[in-house]
Symmetry: C2
Subunit: 198 residues, 2 copies
């Protein structure tokens, strides 16, 4: 799931994780310092540059990117463990991470982009969130524009005008993806049993 | 939507049409005689062989098939009219019709197969539906097996163990398909407007 900052992605991620026991959040590693209120092991794993570089070298990251001088990455092992147990994994990542994940996971990745209903809503949410100076807001709006420009690379697009409606749409996408024939790994055996009984 | 007879496809189709104002049922033409209770223009358009053949010749059918001596087909015009108005169309057809529709409509077709939860449930529903002789039931079970054997040609599979749960799944598939980026034809203009306001 990707979106510009301020489009409601964090809220939608949290609601999805709360509503569905079979999907777990992927927790990224980062070299940036924690912001006030951020918890290590919940929001991110905050690690050193040396540790990050050793994870790259050991191919322990599914994807990673340098965003304005800070490194962000997705640890491979928790994802592979969850998938092996038949669970799904939610990635809260930007367009760079999505491109790399799409290469690593191919058809197994479902790419969902969240859009704000309009520019004013985005601006209001960005201003409401932090009392940044107006030049910081302007920079964040420019960043939002760059992220939004990648929407054509996604499978699904949800416009978050109303968070409950957007949540329903995200839940429907997850349910439908699980109902795809190629994702229902037990179907071949199921149909074999069914045919035997006819 | 395809399924063996007795898997609940008719019930699920009806519930979907009732629940969603933006999807219309495609009504097939057929050369077979109406069964008791069947209404012309609702269950099928009952037409003569001559009329059917003239529709084939005029390319007025999106797909057609000969099933045990009776001809069945999907008229093209109501489908094209509905799609042009931005509505979706539900097809209640078998694997032969689905294969032909997939060629005619390509990516625009979503293929959904409904499976019964087990062979006994299918047998019970077939016996419950009509007081046919046991050799008729056996023939219908064999037909069901032939239809089921085509399940790998479908995009989605729903196992109809509980009709309300299966209905929820069908609704989710429809909602998710509508949220696919490539189906949201107004998105390019919407994002252009959004970017202008940043």
């Amino acid at each position: 799931m990707s979106s510009p900052s301020g489009a409601g992605k964090t809220t939608l991620s949290r609601k999805l994780i709360e509503a569905d026991n079979n999907i777990a959040m992927s927790i990224s590693v980062t070299t940036r310092k924690p912001r006030p209120g951020e918890v290590d092991g919940k929001d991110y794993y905050f690690i050193s540059i040396e540790k990050f570089e050793s994870m790259i070298a050991a191919k322990e990251l599914l994807e990673w990117a340098n965003v304005f001088g800070n490194l962000y990455g997705t640890p491979r092992k928790p994802v592979e463990d969850a998938l092996a147990r038949g669970r799904d994994v939610l990635f809260d990542i930007d367009w760079q991470g999505t491109q790399q994940l799409a290469q690593a996971m191919e058809d197994d990745l479902v790419r969902l982009f969240i859009l704000p209903p309009n520019a004013d809503a985005l601006r209001t949410r960005l201003i409401g969130r932090n009392q940044d100076a107006s030049n910081v807001i302007a920079k964040r709006m420019a960043e939002a524009g760059r992220e939004i420009s990648h929407w054509p690379e996604y499978d699904y697009v949800v416009v978050n005008e109303n968070v409950d409606e957007a949540h329903k749409e995200v839940v429907a996408i997850l349910m439908a993806e699980r109902l795809k024939r190629r994702r229902q790994l037990g179907l071949t055996d199921f149909v074999r049993g069914l045919m035997t009984g006819l």
